[in-house]
């Protein structure tokens, strides 16, 4: 039932992304609406605000969680699209291994910066 598990996790990560990326997008862009609800965003894309956020463990946690679920969801989706176009067992092995390797590299490269900045 391997494909069933992979697809079920695709659905679960989809819901998680809808929540986490929703928080991220709304925090970055809808400052007036959030201000109406009493949340002060403090100019989300400016340098000082970004450095303050990168010191808080909650934000680092949200960013790393978002990174993990997005990488899984997106790369699994890409793998399925490629497999729909290239029907052969040998291609399936190559594509799966390439995508796993790509995902691990991107994760290590992108998670490094938030963790580094957490201690500044």
């Amino acid at each position: 039932m391997r494909n069933t598990y992979l697809w079920f996790i695709q659905l679960v990560t989809g819901v998680l992304i809808a929540v986490l990326a929703g928080i991220h997008t709304v925090w970055m862009h809808l400052d007036a609406i959030l201000g109406f609800f009493g949340v002060d965003v403090r100019e989300a894309t400016a340098w000082h605000s970004m450095i303050e956020r990168s010191r808080e463990a909650i934000w680092a946690g949200i960013y790393i969680a978002l990174l993990v679920v997005v990488l899984y969801h997106g790369l699994n989706g890409l793998r399925n699209i490629i497999l729909e176009l290239t029907p052969s067992a040998r291609t399936e092995r190559i594509v799966t291994r390439a995508i796993i390797a790509f995902g691990i590299i991107i994760f290590i490269w992108s998670a490094y910066v938030p963790i580094l900045l957490l201690s500044t």
Binding site: L11, G14, V15, I17, A18, A21, G22, T25, H29, L30, D31, A32, I33, T45, A46, W47, M50, S54, L67, V70, G74, L75, G77, L78, I81, L85, I106, W109, S110, Y112, V113, L116, L117
Partner: protein, 147 residues
């Protein structure tokens, strides 16, 4: 008698886009795929910017932000947000329908046939309505300069 090879008649990728006079849900599916790939591409650029340009210090960051306040980039960002809204809401609908929740029960097929996606079309229309409302909310923020 020589062997005749049957002629391949598969539509290929063009069969994803147009294969005949089909209904709405077939095109929602291909749009879901296109927005997913678009968001993945945006993700790679976004990750580059928030890692490489962030650890290089304040000046590089502020220079990047100034470039990104260009209206063309703002419009591109708005398209990404629209893609994200569509993919997320259509994805939520797909999760519910693919696990059989919003699909109804099997019924005896009495002519004229109404398949379950057609019967549950109001849910799809409600989802499109929410997508349009959210796109308008973000439109005011991105294009019309904020609230």
């Amino acid at each position: 008698m020589r062997q005749i090879q049957p002629r391949q008649n598969h539509l290929g990728i063009s069969g994803w886009i147009w294969a005949g006079n089909y209904k709405l849900e077939r095109y929602l599916y291909i749009l879901h795929r296109v927005t997913g790939l678009g968001i993945l591409l945006f993700l790679l650029i976004h990750l580059t910017m928030t890692t490489v340009f962030r650890i290089q210090g304040k000046d590089v960051w502020e220079a990047t932000m100034n470039i990104l306040h260009n209206p063309w980039f703002k419009f591109g960002e708005y398209l990404v947000v629209v893609a994200l809204i569509y993919h997320a809401l259509n994805g939520l609908r797909l999760i519910l329908q693919e696990l059989g929740f919003l699909m109804g029960k099997p019924i005896p097929p009495i002519y004229p046939y109404r398949d379950s996606l057609r019967k549950k079309r109001p849910w799809t229309m409600a989802m499109i309505g929410i997508i349009l409302i959210l796109c308008l909310v973000f439109f005011y923020d991105f294009i019309a300069g904020g609230w």
